[in-house]
């Protein structure tokens, strides 16, 4: 980030080419709800290389980044097995061939690394039972820096600790943001906030860019402040086929198609050509979806609204002066204040 302040609105292509570099470490916040798939497909299209992917609960996002040749290392707590038991996932195949290194944590210890990174600590205590788990015992590329132990100065107990993680780039998709990057998300939060705040650069796609006053009247939904965000992209369907609370459900029709692609020989290569490489952007992706599945199928997943009760942030006085222009504290108008200053103020000569 060079410039401070001002609009950060750009396209997905521009954001990825400006802010994502070969060799970077990359993180997506959530579990799967609101997964920033449009940004992930763009990274694959731009053929980024040598990346480390922090993935708490990986699904096809992780499988695709590996299959697309972008990722060489992963920090992970869970991976859904696309491809089923027999064939196994892409990640499993690459790991067993030695083409991918994975550091396995539990969800909590993974998240604790991000919390440390977000708070600016060098490490974070974790819960002691992990010391009996092989998650604690085995390590990959982190060697003996995956876990450590320390002694509590107050109880004398041994406490396992994890090192802080500060990924280079965090990507997220949210319901709405303003042009400055104040990003609002509601729904399952997972480790999204820690993932964002631990990262050096944050890229946000959103369904809608809204006026700043929408944000200011609902700050409890803001999960990352604009001053931390580098790019804001208005990208409807930016997490498709994953779902977004208030907009649409998980597209099980597309999931079913992907399931077949993972299972068939050469299915994934064909899927990449059809759905990633041959489509320049998310608009083209949605057009293609409609060609293949039909508009009706897309509409089936639209959310039926269920609005949050508005929270009243109102206050009695909008400034130190009431509606009649009288000071709430002093009981005088502006002219009266000036008189009071002359009478009682410690007036000094500044000329």
């Amino acid at each position: 980030m060079s410039d401070k302040g001002g609009s950060k609105i750009m396209t997905t292509r521009e954001a990825v080419s400006r802010f994502v570099k070969d060799g970077d470490s990359l993180i997506t916040g959530n579990y799967n709800e609101s997964m920033p798939i449009s940004l992930i497909y763009e990274i694959i299209r731009q053929r980024k290389k040598g990346m480390t992917y922090y993935s708490q609960s990986g699904s096809f996002d992780a499988e695709f980044l590996v299959y697309g040749g972008c990722v060489e290392k992963m920090v992970s707590a869970f991976l859904y097995k696309w491809g089923g038991k027999g064939r196994g996932g892409i990640i499993e195949q690459y790991q067993r061939k030695g083409q991918l290194l994975i550091e396995d944590y539990s969800n909590f210890t993974y998240n604790a690394r991000l919390a440390a990174g977000a708070y600016g600590y060098s490490y974070m205590p974790v819960l002691p039972a992990i010391m009996d788990s092989d998650v604690f015992k085995y390590s990959s590329f982190m060697g003996d820096k995956k876990f450590g132990t320390t002694t509590c100065p107050f109880t004398g107990k041994t406490i396992p600790v994890v090192p802080a993680a500060n990924p280079d780039v965090c990507m997220l998709h949210v319901q709405r943001a303003d042009q400055f990057g104040n990003a609002q998300h509601w729904g399952g939060l997972g480790s999204t906030v820690h993932a964002c705040l631990a990262s050096r650069t944050i890229l946000v796609t959103c369904e809608e860019i809204v006026e700043p006053d929408v944000i200011r009247s609902s700050p409890h939904h803001t999960i990352v402040p604009g001053f931390r965000v580098s790019a804001v992209i208005e990208e409807p369907f930016g997490c498709h086929p994953f779902e977004l609370v208030g907009y649409r459900g998980l597209d099980t029709a597309m999931f079913s198609l992907m399931n077949q692609a993972f299972k068939a020989d050469g299915g994934l290569t064909a899927f990449f050509d059809e759905w990633i490489y041959n489509l320049p952007d998310r608009n083209a992706y949605i057009k293609h979806y409609i060609e293949v599945f039909g508009q009706e199928m897309l509409n089936r997943y639209n959310a039926r609204s269920y609005y949050s009760a508005p929270a009243n942030y109102g206050i009695p006085f909008q400034s130190g002066w009431d509606v009649d222009g009288i000071s709430n504290d002093l009981g005088v108008d502006m002219e009266g204040l000036e008189k009071l200053i002359e009478e009682k103020g410690d007036v000094i000569d500044v000329n």
Partner: protein, 279 residues
């Protein structure tokens, strides 16, 4: 009362649902646990506080979620927090009554592997740790479910510690919530419990169609069997209806369900295209 036909998958779900008591603060994972939670909440445990580890607390299961942050679970829920808070302020602080955990491999003392079927990195993967190690350590009680997993003499990889070497080893380590650990293991063949002293697993109840010999055939050690076998829970119509209203696909085994769903989408797309041409 039961008048409906019931599948093996449904029976297992109902057995799991009966493990939840009214008012239990319960963490649910994807698959069988969430369906069990939905049935319990609709029938005998309407005040159970159901949670998923993404920070969705006190939710109403409506539709089978595909993952633990699924939007379908956030249409009306009581407490929105994040994962870190679920593990610290609720679980480690001692407020989690029950955790449901899926099992890949299990040994006689309830230690669980969900990571690798061998030594990493060369071994076949399962799904990895997820939230299991900490939920298993700090929930007051854990309910284990195993479909398609296996019993082993020695785990190639210990993801989530159970009773460790048995006896009071877990308790004596001081690393766990006192009194915590597996209460029960449910498999398609029956219900297993753990001896109060030795902490060794034993067969408690057989499901219909199963025998002690068939259960023992899956188990590489000499499995102990309760002196008097328990009676499996016969589902009621109310439970079966609650289950089918929540997730119609869950009456089937997973491969059959996946195929049925795929065929449904093929039919839908074909019908839509035919309608398009007719216009």
């Amino acid at each position: 009362m039961l008048t409906k036909k019931v599948t093996r998958q449904e029976l297992l779900i109902i057995a799991a649902a009966r493990q939840i008591q009214n008012g239990d603060v319960t963490i649910l994972g994807i698959g069988l646990p969430i369906i069990a939670g939905a049935v319990a909440k609709k029938t005998h445990a309407p005040e159970a506080v159901l949670m998923m580890e993404s920070g969705i607390c006190d939710f109403e299961p409506r539709i089978l979620p595909m993952h633990v942050a699924d939007a379908s679970a956030t249409r009306g829920y009581g407490y929105a927090i994040d994962l870190f808070s679920v593990f610290t302020t609720i679980t480690h602080a001692g407020y989690l009554d029950k955790a449901f955990l899926g099992v890949g491999q299990i040994d006689r003392f309830g230690n669980i592997n969900t990571s690798y079927l061998g030594t990493p990195p060369d071994a076949q993967r399962i799904t990895a740790a997820g939230g299991a190690p900490e939920f298993y350590a700090y929930a007051k009680q854990s309910i284990l479910t195993m479909k398609g997993g296996e019993f082993v003499e020695k785990l190639p990889y210990l993801t989530s510690p159970g009773f460790l070497g048995g006896g009071d080893e877990r308790e004596a380590s001081g690393r766990y919530t006192p009194g915590s650990g597996p209460a029960v293991l449910l498999t398609p063949k029956g219900i297993f419990k753990f001896d109060k002293e030795t902490k060794e697993m034993y067969l408690d109840t057989l499901f219909p169609g199963s025998t002690v010999e068939r259960v023992k055939a899956d188990i590489p050690w000499d499995l102990k069997v309760a002196d008097q076998l328990g009676v499996f829970p016969v589902p009621t119509d109310e439970e079966i209806i609650a289950l089918r209203e929540f997730s119609p696909r869950s009456s089937f085994s997973s491969p059959v369900a996946v195929q049925l769903v795929f065929e449904n989408f093929k039919r839908r797309i074909a019908a839509q295209k035919a309608a398009g041409r007719a216009n």
